[in-house]
Symmetry: C2
Subunit: 220 residues, 2 copies
């Protein structure tokens, strides 16, 4: 019963098969990403994903549990990319300046990667997904934002009434997130009554406003 028939994990052929399986898995992910981003999640069927890479829809189920976990995995990748983009600023000494630039980078990321951004934050999530825990907090953009808010509070830069770093972080996030969402949703003239200002300029002004409302007087 416990004989290791066919199970040798050190065999070279086993390694090759593992590699091939990983490659197939990767090709599924790439096809799904392209179709999800160009056609939308609901408009992309498992059969079309499979067609694109010469497989049958059922083959996908040997690599992923269901359609949702395809999207989940793509989101995880994009989350990591966003987190890394934000963390490039940890060399800046002033935490408040970091907060300001993070906001502007967030908006820019959203406009540069509209589909991924939509994926991560705008698409209606089917179900929490228990294995979403795989996201490393160190690579998590929100944790980085939170750390910077904590640093600003610890340095006494914020007004004394702001003692909850989570709430301050969520307020900062909300501003840039909403700006990105509005621009993503009204790319052209979908709403003729809405004359959108330049997103980067608006993000900069918004950062100034929110930070002035947050900071102690002397730094105004």
């Amino acid at each position: 019963m416990s004989s290791t028939t066919h199970l040798d994990p050190t065999s070279p052929s086993r390694a090759r098969r593992d590699r091939e399986k990983a490659e197939t898995r990767q090709r599924i992910l790439e096809a799904a990403r392209e179709l999800f981003t160009t056609q939308g999640y609901a408009q992309t069927s498992m059969r079309r994903i499979a067609d694109q890479i010469g497989y049958t829809a059922t083959a996908i189920y040997h690599h992923f549990q269901d359609k949702d976990s395809l999207l989940n995995e793509l989101c995880a990748v994009d989350f990591r990319a966003l987190g890394e983009a934000l963390q490039t600023m940890d060399k800046i000494p002033d935490p408040v300046t970091r907060l300001r630039l993070m906001g502007q980078n967030y908006v820019r990321f959203a406009l540069d990667h509209p589909q991924q951004f939509r994926f991560m934050f705008l698409v209606e999530r089917p179900i929490p997904g228990p294995e979403c825990v795989t996201i490393d907090p160190a690579e998590n953009g929100y944790q980085f934002l939170l750390a910077n808010v904590r640093e600003a509070i610890a340095a006494g830069r914020l007004r004394p009434e702001f003692t909850d770093p989570e709430m301050v972080a969520q307020i900062l996030w909300s501003g840039v997130h909403g700006l990105a969402a509005i621009h993503l949703h009204s790319p052209e003239k979908t709403h003729p009554w809405l004359d959108l200002r330049d997103p980067d300029a608006t993000a900069a002004v918004m950062s100034d406003i929110v930070l002035r409302g947050l900071l102690r007087e002397p730094s105004a």
Copy 2:
């Protein structure tokens, strides 16, 4: 050709039939609203909507073009309600207080009508839609926000560098819009690393912060 066979718009029986048709249409809308809000849009099928009121799915197509226009009509109703709710505040004398309350009402509306809010602002729009000529109900709310910003500027309440009412309005909107979007997207524990604060409290604090950053000194 132009004989009015069967078309007499003044006939009483015609009026009765019109009323009955309108009632059926209304019952469809009510059933759709309940199912959309309790089960979600994607999880609600035309057949289930029809079942709920004793019809067949195809009957709905005599009253509405397709499933989307069902949700569209519900959205129009709700956003008109939002616009009117926001405008009830025009009795408040202080334009800045109006702006503060508008933001908090916006967040509450989004959380009270998650499906409609998502559909209006978050869902990927397929195409502007040519017969969307019916005035966008969101327009009223934005125009009202804009008018209040203009009034605040004209009254000299804002710092002198804020001369563009559109940009100020879009900044104010972005904050509450982003807060609503974040809460709508993470209703439960979809993101275990995110410990969301109470949305109403956060909206209130955010309004204070943004307005302090916007206002002239004396009113701090």
